[in-house]
Assembly symmetry: C2
Homo-oligomer: 421 residues x 2
C-alpha cells in the first residue's frame, strides 16, 4: 500500500463524461489498496470563459480579484470529481487550496508555494477518504487572500502536496503518455523515455518540452519525489522522472532527447561601449521591468571603435517591454540601436551522456549544416546544447537532430490536444 | 455618513452589462459618502448550470460537495463585481462567506448562520474599500467545511452581515421595487407600501409573498435592522421594513396586503381514532421525515364511531414524503385513508389594523362568497387570515380581497422576471 498523488489537467476533466472516466481511474487506484490524493485543474475552457467575463467587466482586472475569479474553476472541477467518485461507491472529499493548507507568497497570478500544512488532508486520508485538492491555488501567508500559482500551477500543487504528505509517487496525467525524445507531433518515431533523471528533465523543460513545467520539476527534485508522467486516456506505462543524473553510471548515460521552443524573441543591442559596467546596465534595466533572459551572447562588432553588440533572448510576451525600456535608456547607456526579431526558434539536445561522449557538439552542428540550417547563436550547459535558428526551420532541425543521434523508436506515439494549465 | 449593506440578486448580475450597472450604483453610494458592503448572489443561471453538471456526474450528489460546487457561483459574481467597481476608479475587495466570517451550522444545503465575525470586512472598510461578500454561503463551525444557506440565503447573508457590522440599513435589490399590497402581476393597481413593520412582513412572507424570505426578516427583526426593499432597475423609493407593530398607534394601524401561495399541498388523514395521542403520532411521523406543517384542521367526521379526520398543508415537494410515511404507519396508527390534493392555493389578508377593526373576517368571507369561491380551510393569527381554496381560483380571490378591503393605489407597479436565490 502506497500513498499516491494523481494530477489531472483541464482536458482530462473537460466534461461530465471525462470526469466520470477520471473518477473511475481514481477509484481503481483506491481499490488496489492505495491512499489516493487527487489534484485537478479547472474543466477545459472554464479558465478562458472566466477571463473573457473579466475582460467584459474590466479591461485590466485587479490581480487579487482575478485570482478569486479563476480559482472558482478548480473548485467546480474538484467538487464534480468528488461527486463522480461518490456515485461509484467510494468516499471522497474535496478541498480548496486554502483548506488543503497550500500557503503561498502574496504575488497574485504568480504566487510561489512557501509551505503546505496538510492537516485536513491527512485526517481525511486516515478516515479512508479519497482526497481532492483544487490545483493552481493557495492562500497568501500574509493577507490570507486567495492566490494562484501561474502556468503549470496544478502540477506544482500536486508535487508540493505529495512532498508534504510524504507520498510515494506523484502521477501527472496529461495529454501525452510520457516524456518523448522529441515532440511526437514533429517526429513521428519519437521514443518514449521509461525514466529520466531530474536534471535531464529540468533541462528538457527549460528547453521548451511542455510535458512538465520547470517549477514543478524543481520542486520534485528538491524533495526527491518521483514524478510519473502518464496519459489520462491510456494505460501505457508512461515516463518516470526520478533520481539524480549523478547516480547514472557514466557508461549507461545516454542522450535524452531533442527539445524545441517557439516562445522566445531575440533582442540585440548594438554599439554598446565595450567598457566594464555597460553590459551590467543593460541587464539591470531588463531586470527592472521583470524580463527573464534566456540565452546571451556578447561579441565585439568593431574592434577599432571599442563597441560591442549584446544579443539576448527572452519570452515573446516580455520582448516589447524589454525593447521599450532599453530604448528609453539609449542616451544614458549610449548604445547605437535596439534590434528585435521574433521569427526565431530554439532547438536543444539534452542528455547526461553528453558528458562522456565527445564530439556531440560537432555532430550537432554537422546535422544542422547538412539540413541547410543556419545557426544564429549557441549556448550550452553540461548536459545541453541549444542553438537559435529561424522559426520556419525549427521542425526540420528537430527531425534532423533526432535522426542524427539515433533517438528514434519503433512505436508510434499517441498524441491528444490539451490545455496548458 | 452611514454604513449601508446592499444585496443584489442573481438577475441583477446576470451578465457583464448588468454587473457594470450594479457596480455603478454601488460606486454612487460610496461617492455619496457612505461605507458600502455588498452581498451578491450568483449570476443568473449559474446555479442551475452547476446543478445540471452535478446531475450529469452523480444522480444524487453528496451535500458537502454540492455546497463546494454551488458556492463557486457567488465567488465568480462577486469577483466580477469587484473588478467592475475597480474599473470605475473605486477600490473594492471581495470575500467568500468563509473569509467574511459567516459561521454556520453544518447542515449542508440548508445551514443556519450562527455568528458573523466580520474582522476582515471591518479592516477593509477602515481602509476605504467597498467590501463585497459572497452571499448564500458560510463555513461550518465544527468541520470548517463550506456550507450554503438554502433558498433566499443571500438575503440572510446581507442581513446577518449588516447586523454584525452595525449597519444603518440593509438594502435588498430585487426584481420588484418594493413590497406591494398584492402581487402586481395579479392585481395591476396593487399599491407599494412605504413602510411595513417586521411582524407584518413576517406574516406576508409566511403567507407566500416572495419579496423577502422569512428567515431574513426574522433575522432583521431580532437585530432591529431596517431592510430597504428596492428595485435594481429603477430609482424608486421602495419599501422600508422596520419597527415593531406594537409601536404603531392603534388608530393608524391598517390592513397591509393580500398574499397568496401556490406552493402547498393538502393531505387529509381520515378515520383517526379520536383518542388523545393519535394526532400526536401523525405529527411525530411527519416530523421524522422532515415535513413542515403549515395549516392544520382536525374535525370529527363521525361522532358515533369515535373517529376524526386530520387535514394539514405542507410544501408540494414534501407532500409525497408525508403521504409515503403516513401510509407506512396505517396499521400502527389505525386510520382509514390518506388523501392528497395539490390543486389548492392559499390566500391571506395581513395587517396590524385587523386587531382594531372588527368584522374583517366577515368581510373577508363575504368577498370570497360574492366571487363564488369556496373556502376549504381557515386559519388565523392576530394579524392574518388565511384560507385554502382551489388553485384555479387563487388569482380571482386575491383580486376580490384586494378590492373588498380597498387596498389599491393609483400607480401601476413595475415588474421584472427574476430568480429566487
Amino acid at each position: 500500500m502506497a500513498l499516491v498523488v494523481q494530477k489531472y489537467g483541464g482536458s482530462s476533466v473537460s466534461d461530465a463524461e471525462r470526469i466520470r472516466r477520471v473518477a473511475e481511474r481514481i477509484v481503481e487506484t483506491k481499490k488496489a489498496g492505495h491512499d489516493v490524493v487527487v489534484v485537478a485543474s479547472a474543466m477545459g475552457d472554464t479558465t478562458d470563459d472566466l477571463l473573457d467575463l473579466a475582460q467584459q467587466v474590466c479591461p485590466s482586472p485587479p490581480a487579487r480579484e482575478l485570482d478569486m475569479l479563476l480559482t472558482a474553476g478548480e473548485r467546480i472541477s474538484n467538487a464534480l470529481l468528488a461527486m463522480a467518485i461518490e456515485s461509484m461507491g467510494a468516499n471522497a472529499r474535496s478541498f480548496t487550496g486554502s483548506q488543503a493548507g497550500v500557503i503561498t507568497t502574496g504575488t497574485h497570478g504568480n504566487a510561489k508555494i512557501m509551505d503546505v500544512t496538510p492537516g485536513r488532508l491527512r485526517t481525511a486520508l486516515d478516515e479512508g477518504q479519497i482526497v481532492l485538492v483544487a490545483g493552481f491555488q493557495g492562500v497568501s501567508q500574509d493577507t490570507k487572500d486567495v492566490t494562484t500559482l501561474g502556468r503549470g500551477g496544478s502540477d506544482t500543487t500536486a508535487v508540493a502536496v505529495a512532498a508534504a504528505l510524504g507520498a510515494d509517487v506523484c502521477e501527472i496525467y496529461t495529454d501525452v503518455d510520457g516524456v518523448y525524445t522529441a515532440d511526437p507531433r514533429i517526429v513521428p518515431d519519437a521514443r518514449r523515455l521509461e525514466t529520466i533523471s531530474f536534471e535531464e528533465m529540468l533541462e528538457m523543460a527549460a528547453a521548451g518540452t511542455k510535458v512538465l513545467m520547470l517549477r514543478c520539476v524543481e520542486y520534485a527534485k528538491r524533495y526527491n519525489l518521483p514524478i510519473h508522467v502518464r496519459s489520462s486516456y491510456t494505460d501505457k506505462p508512461g515516463t518516470l522522472v526520478k533520481g539524480s543524473m549523478e547516480d547514472i553510471p557514466m557508461e549507461d548515460a545516454i542522450l535524452t532527447g531533442v527539445a524545441h521552443d517557439r516562445s522566445e524573441a531575440k533582442v540585440t543591442v548594438t554599439g554598446v561601449p565595450d567598457v566594464p559596467g555597460y553590459a551590467a546596465q543593460v541587464f539591470r534595466a531588463l531586470a527592472d521591468v521583470d524580463v527573464n533572459i534566456d540565452m546571451v551572447l556578447q561579441n565585439i562588432s568593431k574592434v577599432e571603435d571599442g563597441k560591442t553588440d549584446i544579443t539576448f533572448t527572452c519570452s515573446r510576451e516580455s520582448a516589447p517591454r524589454a525593447v521599450e525600456k532599453l530604448t528609453s535608456l539609449q542616451d544614458k547607456i549610449g548604445f547605437t540601436r535596439v534590434l528585435f526579431d521574433d521569427l526565431i526558434g530554439k532547438v536543444s539536445l539534452i542528455g547526461a551522456g553528453m558528458r562522456s561522449h565527445p564530439g556531440v557538439t560537432a555532430t550537432f552542428c554537422e546535422a544542422l549544416a547538412e539540413a541547410g540550417i543556419n545557426i544564429d547563436l549557441i549556448s550550452t550547459s553540461e548536459i545541453r546544447i541549444s542553438v537559435l535558428i529561424k522559426d520556419t526551420e525549427l521542425d526540420r532541425a528537430v527531425a534532423a537532430l533526432h535522426e542524427a543521434f539515433n533517438l528514434g523508436g519503433e512505436e508510434q506515439a499517441v498524441v491528444y490536444a490539451g490545455t496548458g494549465r
